[in-house]
Subunit: 186 residues, 2 copies
């Protein structure tokens, strides 16, 4: 899947899953259907992970920090899948899908919206409690998640697997989001 | 080009440029070569634009703000090209290119690095002058540009063309990068 949707054969997928092609076709009608299925499972896992943190006790600042770290962690483990996911969203936007696949893609888009709402909810809570600066939570969260997702273009998963994402990099990024670039004179 | 590299025919490109296919093949050996050529021109334009701002007089905070606004502007006008560009970088990473194309892609990667260095340079200047918080400029700028580039996934170019990117959205984003999420108690 590192090579993208078009270049990934069902043989590769079967090997990745430790299954035979016949077994895969027993569950999924086509490569596209298989991909949507796997993508949905990965999204559900991500959503449950951040939802659990969002709904746990603790200050919004601390919960948002943990949600950002969880997102980076998920990026590391799902990075090839996410690249393929972006291509699937492109398909969705440009409409070259069957009606069944379109329904599944709609469900994926709904899950992505829920995922973003989890983050925006904690941000709004923190604004009410005086921890966060008043801002448009939807724009802030899209920009924040975009900044994180961009890591897949410059932070090679190979490196991450070898050494774990260095704490220095993740704390630089969290500080950037939390404190911005401008020096506080207080 | 809104449909991506694979789905864009030379006829579409010819129509977009107001040229004939014959005329295009006079200058470029293939669709890939044409794309690399157009991509290089767009990158050069972007690089010159931010370089000019980076090297102009004024406080680093003010120059960085103008560079961010210029990047958003370039995103709006080059958004389909940038989507194709990402696919080209994927090709680069996974190596399905001819030696000539690989040379051109290397030049594109060098330009991207120079582009990021322009931003990082102004950020470092501002840290020295006490305007910006001490941070790792390379990580901060990759995250900042990533957050901006992500706009192409949620901010539809159609809207932007109709109404211009609303000032409210751009100033929310600049504030997010400059002041972060956490409220300053000063």
């Amino acid at each position: 899947m590192e090579r993208g949707y078009a270049a990934t054969s069902l043989d590769t997928v079967a090997e990745f899953l430790g299954a035979t092609k016949g077994r895969i076709y027993y569950y999924y009608k086509s490569k596209a259907d298989l991909f949507f299925g796997v993508h949905r499972e990965a999204n559900l896992l991500s959503l449950r992970t951040v939802e659990t943190i969002a709904n746990s006790p603790g200050m919004p600042t601390e919960r948002l920090r943990r949600m950002i770290l969880a997102h980076i962690e998920l990026l590391g483990s799902h990075s090839p899948l996410l690249r393929v996911a972006q291509q699937a969203l492109d398909m969705h936007i440009y409409g070259s899908t069957t009606p069944d696949q379109r329904k599944l893609l709609d469900a994926l888009v709904t899950m992505r919206d829920e995922y973003e709402r989890c983050f925006a909810g904690v941000l709004s809570e923190g604004t009410k409690s005086g921890e966060f600066r008043p801002c448009d939570p939807a724009i802030a969260i899209k920009t924040l998640l975009g900044g994180l997702n961009w890591m897949t273009t410059w932070y090679r998963p190979g490196h991450a697997r070898e050494s774990g994402l260095p704490k220095r990099v993740t704390s630089e990024i969290v500080d950037f989001f939390f404190h911005g670039l401008v020096l506080r004179r207080d």
